[in-house]
């Protein structure tokens, strides 16, 4: 074993420093992005224009915020399937709050995010304390959120439109030419990188993902960490929903449905192990951009929705085959 690691080292040693330290999966994901852009530019030169790229980053930022939360949970070895309706709920609650005049509009974003965090808390309690598999808990809470929203709206799209603050956050441009959504995503990303690399919580997340038993025996409050992770995921899902409502200027039924699979796919494409414990945040960023570009190019090429779904699914399975399986432990 030591021989193979030495020979691997010697190959690695010839690479420049930033490449040597990078995760091969992250490099692959960025490589795929360039490949997609190259293919796209053969089809139409518009694919390389700054306008198109900024537009793609803006669209990607909604998915990016959701995927950031998903990544925390996946690093633990869990999954959050409540994303679609927690997103929708966040959007609807924020718009509903805006219906209560000035004060309502001011607290619209916190209301939306807090409703998502509350659902995340329920998920977290179920997973960490009641020991129900996360797949089941979050699937169930997704349906509960859906039911609540159908009761609230009567099954129709709510009439409240998104307040100006939310619209500005999603579509405005604080810096000329750079959509605010991209800045928001950058802010969330900076916070996630800090969380993963500099905080005790981040270390605990990786530790639990690698070996929950070892983390517990090290005296880490594993249940609390798992619970907080689900709260973060719920909050970021709802925040993604809020941004999406600002982009579309109103909330709509099932608006979060197209985000579940892409958010999981983005995390996994970025090299995060679906079994937990391994993965870097930059990989998730790459995964988000890759998926958004894939979507965009497929639609420009007139690929029908069904075809896009098939392509996602196949891409995820292929990536799982490449990275998702645990390496031999000995």
């Amino acid at each position: 074993m030591s021989e193979t690691s030495e020979s691997r080292l010697s190959i690695k040693a010839r690479l420049p420093v930033f490449l040597r330290r990078a995760d091969p999966a992250v490099l692959t994901a960025f490589g795929c992005i360039f490949l997609l852009l190259l293919l796209g530019s053969l089809y139409s030169s518009n694919f390389l224009s700054p306008d198109y790229l900024l537009q793609q980053l803006k669209v990607a930022s909604f998915l990016g915020v959701v995927a950031a939360g998903m990544m925390v949970v996946i690093l633990l070895g869990h999954i959050d399937l409540s994303v679609p309706w927690v997103m929708t709920m966040g959007a609807m609650m924020a718009c509903a709050a805006a219906g209560f005049g000035e004060i309502g509009a001011a607290v619209a974003i916190p209301v939306g995010v807090l409703s998502g965090m509350a659902f995340g808390l329920l998920n977290g309690l179920g997973v960490a304390y009641l020991r129900i598999p996360s797949m089941i808990v979050t699937l169930a809470s997704n349906v509960v959120a859906q039911g609540l929203m159908v009761v609230y709206t009567g099954g129709f799209s709510p009439q409240d439109s998104a307040p100006n603050a939310i619209r500005w956050l999603a579509t405005g441009a604080l810096l000329p030419g750079v959509p605010n959504a991209i800045l928001v995503w950058s802010g969330v990303s900076a916070a996630m990188v800090f969380l993963f690399t500099r905080t005790a919580f981040g270390r605990a997340v990786y530790g639990i993902g690698n070996s929950e038993r070892a983390a517990f025996l090290s005296g880490v409050g594993t249940r609390r960490v798992v619970m907080i992770a689900f709260v973060v995921s719920g909050g970021l899902s709802a925040f993604g929903g809020v941004l999406l409502a600002g982009y579309a200027s109103k909330a709509a039924q099932a608006m979060g449905d197209p985000y579940l699979l892409p958010s999981i796919a983005a995390v996994v494409l970025g090299g995060t192990s679906i079994l937990g414990g391994r993965g870097s945040y930059f990989g998730t960023v790459a995964g988000v951009i890759l998926i958004t570009l894939l979507q965009s190019i497929l639609s420009v090429m007139q690929m029908p929705e069904a075809g896009r779904q098939i392509v996602y699914g196949v891409v995820i399975i292929v990536m799982l085959l490449l990275y998702g399986r645990a390496p031999p432990s000995r």
């Binding site: 905080t199 005790a200 270390r203 990786y206 530790g207 070892a214 090290s218």
Partner: protein, 517 residues
């Protein structure tokens, strides 16, 4: 029967020069074994003597590296447990292998259910089960009862019936009676003697000397992976058998013991009163003073690991009380155990799954248990982390290519040092060690012994479980010997001898020169 007579008849099963290595550890080396039809053959040996490897090879669970096996004089190679079973070798293991939610009949016929048109023929299956149960002397168990509804001793009987259902010619029993009540043991013995007269060969592994005395026709003693002696039962005394199991091959250099004298009037750092957990730990009371190293001895699986886990707050529903510095301490989780002023540390049993996160870096692993001391407001103080890690790497002389390599790339000894270092970063006062020298090289072992002594001299209270008797003798001020979840003997100072340890581990008096059989 004399040795000459044994050799005159050709054995049913023979093992010749069989060796098995796991990594650098020789589990079995050049082992020979003859198993006769119509005999009960007892296998004796202390922890790690190679008994379980021997059984696994016979049962086709692991393949030997060298040597060969002969069945009826024909060379036999078992590529899987199913192959061994087809050749007529059946095992009854200590850990039950039954599926709790299935019925007794389903379990008995699980490997080879009778089928009609591709479906399980339940009537035939029931008949098979009834016959097997009758053969095992357990007619009282209903074949349709669910296994989970049966008490442990009945389950063990089902296990024996299951082994018999495959109509074996060689039956291996590994600690098969440890879960049984005295009445059941008597019944099982009658059954085993019946099987012997039917011409089966039985291989019987047990730590209970009196059982071997009652049952066995032939005994083989294993030590350090070699068979050191085979003899007819009843020709050696208990004392002689214990001597054979000990042997003397290597000696480790242990640091000198400090003369330990407890300050009068000072409460012990750690005290345990009537600690119990389910029926696996019973009524355990002991105390550990400042600067004292207390060993836990005995055979494997007698409750030593559970005791450490119970002290560290991992087990739920323990009875009795734990006192720290004379104050009652209710410790419900490792997080509570490690918090000052308790400041406990546990070096767990399996460093690969319990002590370390192998894919994570040396740095991340080292600081993992001490993050609350390194971080301010949840944010890691990198300077402080670096400082503490550097100190530890130097103190323990951890050999690593860097702090950012995965800890899994380190050698076993250095991995174990990382596990210990990650706890020393918390400056623990009570250190619990669960067999910390398992699978590490002799040099690192000696470093660990010296470290333990240094920590004790600095005032730590240490509880040290080891499966290696030499370590207990060389390192400990006192040794508690556990048997069946109880402390059966406490040895102190010069009273800690290998002879005393093994005798009390087997729960026999070594002084008593009774014969085997």
């Amino acid at each position: 029967m004399t040795t000459a007579e044994i050799q005159a008849t050709s054995p049913l099963f023979r093992m010749e020069g069989v060796s098995k290595r796991y990594g650098g550890v020789r589990a079995l080396e050049n082992a020979h074994l003859d198993v006769e039809a119509g005999h009960i053959h007892a296998i004796l040996g202390e922890n790690g003597a190679g008994k379980s490897t021997l059984i696994k090879i016979m049962a086709g669970v692991v393949a030997p590296d060298e040597g060969r096996m002969l069945l009826d004089g024909q060379e036999a190679v078992f590529r899987s447990p199913a192959a061994a079973s087809a050749a007529g070798i059946a095992c009854v293991f200590q850990e039950l292998s039954l599926i709790p939610d299935l019925s007794v009949a389903d379990n008995i016929a699980i490997s080879n259910p009778p089928c009609r048109f591709g479906l399980i023929d339940r009537r035939a299956q029931r008949a098979i089960a009834e016959e097997a149960l009758a053969r095992a002397g357990a007619e009282d168990i209903h074949p349709r009862a669910a296994v989970k509804d049966l008490p442990l001793s009945r389950r063990q009987m089902v296990e024996i019936a299951k082994a018999l259902a495959s109509r074996p010619r060689i039956l291996i029993l590994d600690e098969a009676t440890s879960a049984l009540t005295a009445g059941d043991v008597a019944k099982v013995f009658a059954v085993l003697k019946g099987l012997r007269s039917e011409g089966l060969a039985l291989l019987y592994i047990s730590h209970r000397m009196h059982e071997i005395a009652e049952l066995a026709d032939t005994c083989t003693v294993f030590r350090n992976g070699r068979n050191v002696a085979s003899f007819c039962a009843g020709t050696r005394t208990n004392g002689e058998v214990v001597e054979m199991m000990i042997g003397r091959e290597y000696s480790n250099v242990f640091p000198p013991r400090q003369q330990h004298s407890a300050e009068p009037g000072k409460a012990p750092v750690l005290e345990c009163r009537n600690l119990g957990w389910s029926d696996r730990l019973r009524d355990i009371s002991f105390s550990v003073g400042e600067g004292e190293v207390v060993g836990l001895g005995g055979l494997e699986g007698q409750g030593q690991r559970l005791l450490l886990l119970a002290l560290f707050g991992v087990l739920r529903g323990t009875s009795g009380s734990v006192l720290i510095d004379g104050q009652p301490a209710a410790i419900r989780s490792p997080a509570e155990a490690r918090r000052p002023p308790r400041s406990m540390a546990l070096i767990p049993e399996d460093r690969k799954t319990e002590g370390l996160m192998l894919p994570m870096t040396v740095r991340e692993n080292l600081s993992f248990a001490a993050l609350d001391r390194i971080a301010r407001g949840g944010v890691i103080d990198r300077g402080k982390e670096e400082q503490l890690i550097d100190d530890m790497v130097r103190l323990l002389e951890i050999k690593t290519a860097g702090l950012d390599v995965p800890v899994g790339a380190l050698s076993g000894g250095n991995q174990q040092k990382v596990v210990i270092a990650k706890w020393l970063m918390r400056e623990p006062r009570i250190i619990l060690l669960n067999d910390p020298t398992r699978g590490i090289d002799v040099g690192t072992k000696q470093e660990l012994y010296r470290l333990l002594r240094r920590l004790a001299e600095a005032g730590a209270a240490i509880v040290f479980y080891s499966t290696d008797y030499d370590e207990l003798i060389g390192c400990c001020d006192r040794v508690l010997v556990l048997y069946d979840g109880r402390v059966v003997r406490e040895l102190e100072g010069d009273g800690i001898t290998e002879r005393a340890l093994i005798a009390s581990a087997l729960n026999v008096e070594a002084a008593q020169e009774g014969t085997v059989a």
